[in-house]
Amino acid sequence: MPLLEIRNLVVRYGEIEALRGVTIAVEQGQVVTLLGANGAGKSTTLRAISGLAKPASGDILFDGHSIAGLGPEAIVRLGISHVPEGRRVFPGLSVKENIMLGASNRKVGASQISREADAMFDLFPDIRAFSNALGWTLSGGQLQMVAVARGLMAKPRLLLLDEPSLGLAPVIVQAVFRIISQIRKDTTVLLVEQNARMGLSVADHGFVLETGRIVLGGKPDELWGNEAIAAAYLGGHAKTHA
């Protein structure tokens, strides 16, 4: 049984149908990457999983149980952590406070959370020195590190990462993806990326979304092998978009 299974998911924003029957499965322990152009429905898929967008029809099964229609607070308590587009680090709180709040889905004491947040800096040594800096003072790369660290504090069984490379310099993108390949040892990851080369480099499986539908799915090699798809959605073979 897959850890996450989405069946025929339809999501509407008013009159607009953002997802028109999306079906994907994520197996335990995998990194699965969702690719596609702007507006294809990648972020909407993640928002539906984490409860921010309400499904119009279809179902979302986590560990075999339907979570469609539950609110975000309930879903994160089940073990799905969403690191949304734009990082959304709280600007008026410090790095450490941001990270500590990531544990809000679990019933643990403040001192325990503080210790866990300190331990999180071992995985993200680049932001350790900024522990007391306020969110709004950080650079894009630092914000991304804080956002991922905060997402991991939920001790998720499934981590949803939305465009972690967006707006970052290539060297920072590589640092972020090194972290993703470390995370995957413990956590299943569903990754949304426009940067197809980076996105597929860490993936076990990939899906391509086009205007609210899955048009292709397969192992990274198979996706690269499909000439037409590679040219249209993955930005060509050897070219980097980072």
């Binding site: 984490s50 975000p72 607070e73 994160v76 952590s81 709040l101 809000s104 403040a110």
Partner: protein, 291 residues
């Protein structure tokens, strides 16, 4: 010089009341992005609760005080569920109109019960005050200043040192992200309304012996407190406190040296000056809305 010290003391005393109400304004504004136009009525209702328990029922002052504050906490719950919660997914406009409606409803309900004549509430202490050198310290103003200092310290500790305070801050900065982390946004907003109602109520109970207890007392205090939040920098906690104290001092000096009848005018003159020359207030916008 003696007069200056005396006026400073009185000004800080009345300014402390504005500061408490302004703090209530700011906390609700930050949590809901809406200005609560019934904030002044929180103070008015609490003062009348004191009249009910302490004067009408003749209960001991401290007991009436505690029950009135507990009543205000309950009032905060009811206000949240009745005025804000049903409209929370709408834009700010329906919510603002609802708070104005609540303000009118509260004033007129109290009017229907107590009539238009003001009520008198005794102060906490039997002694009217103490002479300290050249300055006469009114006991009620001393109490107001003391309680305000304690509350400002408590407020700092609560929001800066506790995890719950951080969750409240996170909710006011980005509700959707807070909910993604498992923070119960509706609980956080409930706590904010309870806290603001108790703050406003405390201000009303403390100032009631200085003023009269009347239906208009809420709107007068709220207008000054609103001016204080703009002078301090809208949405800024420190700004609300500094703005409230500054306004109290300015209007007291204005009344003493320039004109007593224009006492309220000075507060709004300062407000207009700020709106023209420094609309972001003393503390400005220090934190960007979105990173």
């Amino acid at each position: 010089m003696d007069l200056v010290l005396q006026l400073l003391f009185t000004g800080i005393g009345i300014g402390a009341v504005y500061a408490l109400v302004a703090l209530g304004f700011v906390l609700i504004f930050r949590a809901t992005n809406v200005v609560n136009f019934a904030q002044g009525e929180f103070s008015m209702v609490a003062a009348y609760l004191m009249v009910v328990f302490s004067v009408d029922l003749g209960w001991p002052y401290w007991l009436s005080f505690l029950i009135a504050l507990a009543g205000m906490a309950l009032f905060g719950v009811i206000f949240n569920l009745g005025v804000y919660y049903p409209l929370r997914h709408r834009t700010y406009l329906p919510v603002i109109i609802a708070t104005i409606g609540a303000s009118i409803l509260l004033s007129n309900s109290v009017l229907a019960i107590y009539g238009p004549q003001p009520q008198v509430l005794q102060g906490w202490f039997d002694t009217p005050g103490i002479q300290l050198g050249p300055v006469y310290l009114d006991s009620q103003y001393l109490l107001i200043i003391g309680v305000t200092i304690l509350l400002v310290l408590f407020n700092f500790w609560f929001f800066e040192k506790t995890l719950l305070g951080k969750k409240l801050q996170a909710t006011s900065q980005d509700k959707e992200m807070a909910s993604l982390l498992g923070i119960s946004v509706s609980t956080m907003i409930m706590i904010t309304f309870i806290y603001s109602a108790v703050l406003g109520g405390l201000a009303g109970i403390l100032v009631a012996p200085v003023l009269f207890v009347s239906i208009q007392m809420g709107s007068t205090i709220a207008l000054k407190a609103f001016a204080a939040t703009i002078i301090g920098g809208f949405g800024d906690v420190a700004g609300a406190i500094v703005g409230g104290l500054a306004l109290g001092v300015i209007e007291t000096f204005g009344a003493a040296y320039i004109s007593v009848p224009y006492k309220d005018g000075f507060a709004f003159l300062v407000l207009i000056a700020f709106l023209v020359f420094r609309p972001q207030g003393i503390f400005g916008e220090r934190v960007a809305e979105k990173a």
